[in-house]
Symmetry: C2
Subunit: 344 residues, 2 copies
DNA sequence: TTGAAAGCGCTAACAG
DNA sequence: CTGTTAGCGCTTTCAA
């Protein structure tokens, strides 16, 4: 790679390497005569000089490299957005990111952390593929920032989606359309999802605000995949007419996909007979459904940006509590007014 | 980060840094007395020494870093698998990967390439988010390997999916089930997808092998998303009974999703009335459909591994032609025999 | 069997 | 305004 060194440029321009260094990195540039600067630049251009960042890093003790370690970030469909967010701000600020995927293996994680610290990265981000609380690894630097996960004990900068507010937005959408019998197709407790609890809190709060008594029968739980959503939706749709929901808020888009299937099997149409709201805004699901699904987006890109911004010191973070990133509602076509006989 | 240096270890062990270097990196280890080695190791442990890779890299001219630049790798749902494959072999061989996402911007790409070369990466991979042929950037090193794309002109090591064989496998599956009227729901030509052409070749070849005259009416084209698939499938299903397909090979899983929808609207069941095979094996689509979709998997993980292996010199590549990675068929439940009246 | 010494390519005081 | 010089932390001859 970089065959030609700074001394080559210096020789050709008839100056010292110190001068070359200054003009090329734009430091103390005011003190160097314009002619010299010009000569240096031309010489650099002529010999095809490219600075050697390794040497520079050794000297300056700054690598402009940031480490991003994750459990399985690359494998999940959302993860890309987080990466994109982090990468974008890194690029905007001349940083490069070293990505390490530990696949949830603790040994690999320790190794990765050591390798990154050996590589003298300037900053570090610790990312999870889904929102959860983590036991922070002992050898994670103090100033690392957590992405899509909250620290179990240690105080760390962290960012997670505001699931509670997202749940509220989803249910408000339904309430605003006139629904009163709104089911929540939740994930089963055994999955121990923090999102599940938070979204449910949002659901209950909006019901309360709207003066709707929560009906325990309308809180269904299933495996958070299409099959689970279908089964749960079927049970709900089998409820006697007066107790049957006119709308379903689903824990995620996949369950919503199942809800669609259940409705169609019953000969019900979305949104005329049943309104549905999902969560995640999963490309290739939400937008591809028929009708396109109204859902709540997980702010992966924004969280990625935020994490990188605080990692680079571009933004302050409160280490006492995770930053809550808003989850915007994405309105498509799966919400309508309740069927006439339920109207008020 | 690495506060403590090798000289600290040396001081504590009462030896020179040269000795420390040798024992810690296992070089010339035979020439150093076991006692000394022991002392050095203990000292290193005691002071918590961690080698500084930047200094080492400067000295050895080897960074053990590999650059992975892509157009939008992180944003697409498949991309993660390529990353995972590449990352896994990197990890297995003590390499770290720097990921740069250029978002298709040529300027950003040049910058990234320069930054990586300045960073003295030992190897480079140039990845695309979908199979296509690319004009190789001028400043991409000669020994970079192309991932999921083929070079337009230059001879480069490259790996792409064997789409043709994949198309054959898909259609063979249908032929083996007894189908003779097999449609191909293709992407429109304006998208200029190399996969589209190759899969079609596979489709035609298997038809030929089976002695089936291709019916031009059964080659439908649409936008390669669920909506397009649905529209195309509807048109096909509207054909008179004798000309109507009993099976559909879809360009991708999303179109297959649309085919399902069209079938259901017609009151047709998959696979009893209509068999469907997709392509991509897109998680969250293929497996979540009802019934689960038989499809052809894109070998992203394997391609990622392959690319990293040749990048690290672990494997030879023929620069004259891209390596074709097999696309395995994934049998689920969307293929059955043709309905009785079409049986032979 | 071990140590001294010379850099890898660059930056940053300090002189001039 | 520009050059000299002294390292950054490590590896690797060469000498002892």
């Amino acid at each position: 790679m970089g065959r030609v060194r700074m001394s080559d440029v210096a020789a050709r321009a008839g100056v010292s390497t110190a001068t070359v260094s200054m003009v090329l990195s734009g430091v103390n540039t005011a003190r160097i005569s314009p002619q010299t600067q010009q000569r240096v630049r031309e010489a650099a251009e002529a010999v095809g000089y490219e600075p050697n960042s390794v040497a520079r890093s050794l000297r300056t003790q700054q690598t402009r490299l940031v480490g991003l370690v994750s459990d399985t970030i690359a494998t999940t469909p959302f993860a890309g957005r987080m990466l994109a967010g982090a990468n974008d701000v890194a690029r905007e600020h001349g940083r490069l990111v070293i990505l390490v995927d530990t696949e949830g293996d603790v040994g690999a994680e320790r190794q990765a952390l050591q390798a990154l610290s050996g590589q003298q990265v300037d900053a570090m981000i610790y990312a999870c593929m889904w929102h959860r609380v983590v036991e922070v690894p002992a050898d994670l630097p103090e100033d690392a920032v957590l992405l899509d996960c909250a620290p179990a004990t240690a105080n760390r900068a962290a960012v997670v989606p505001d699931e509670r507010a997202g749940g509220m937005a989803a249910v408000r959408e339904l309430v605003a359309a006139g629904h009163r019998r709104i089911a929540y197709l939740d994930a089963e407790e055994r999955f121990d999802l923090v999102a599940s609890r938070l979204r449910r809190e949002g659901y209950l709060q909006v019901l309360a605000e709207a003066g709707i008594e929560p009906d325990p029968f309308l809180h269904a739980r299933a495996e958070p995949v299409a099959g689970g959503g279908r089964a749960a939706a079927r049970r709900l749709l089998d409820l006697p007419a007066g107790r049957r929901p006119t709308a379903m808020f689903c824990f995620n888009d996949r369950m919503a996909m199942g809800a669609y299937a259940a409705a169609h099997q019953r000969g019900l149409s979305v949104p005329d007979d049943l309104s549905v709201v999902g969560y995640d805004d999963q490309q290739l699901v939400a937008a591809e459904l028929d009708p396109p699904l109204t859902t709540v987006a997980l702010p992966h890109y924004e969280m990625g940006r935020w994490a990188m911004e605080v990692a680079l010191g571009l933004r302050e973070a409160d280490p006492a509590a995770p930053h809550l990133m808003p989850c915007p509602i994405v309105r498509r076509a799966s919400v309508g007014p309740p069927p006439a006989q339920f109207g008020d």
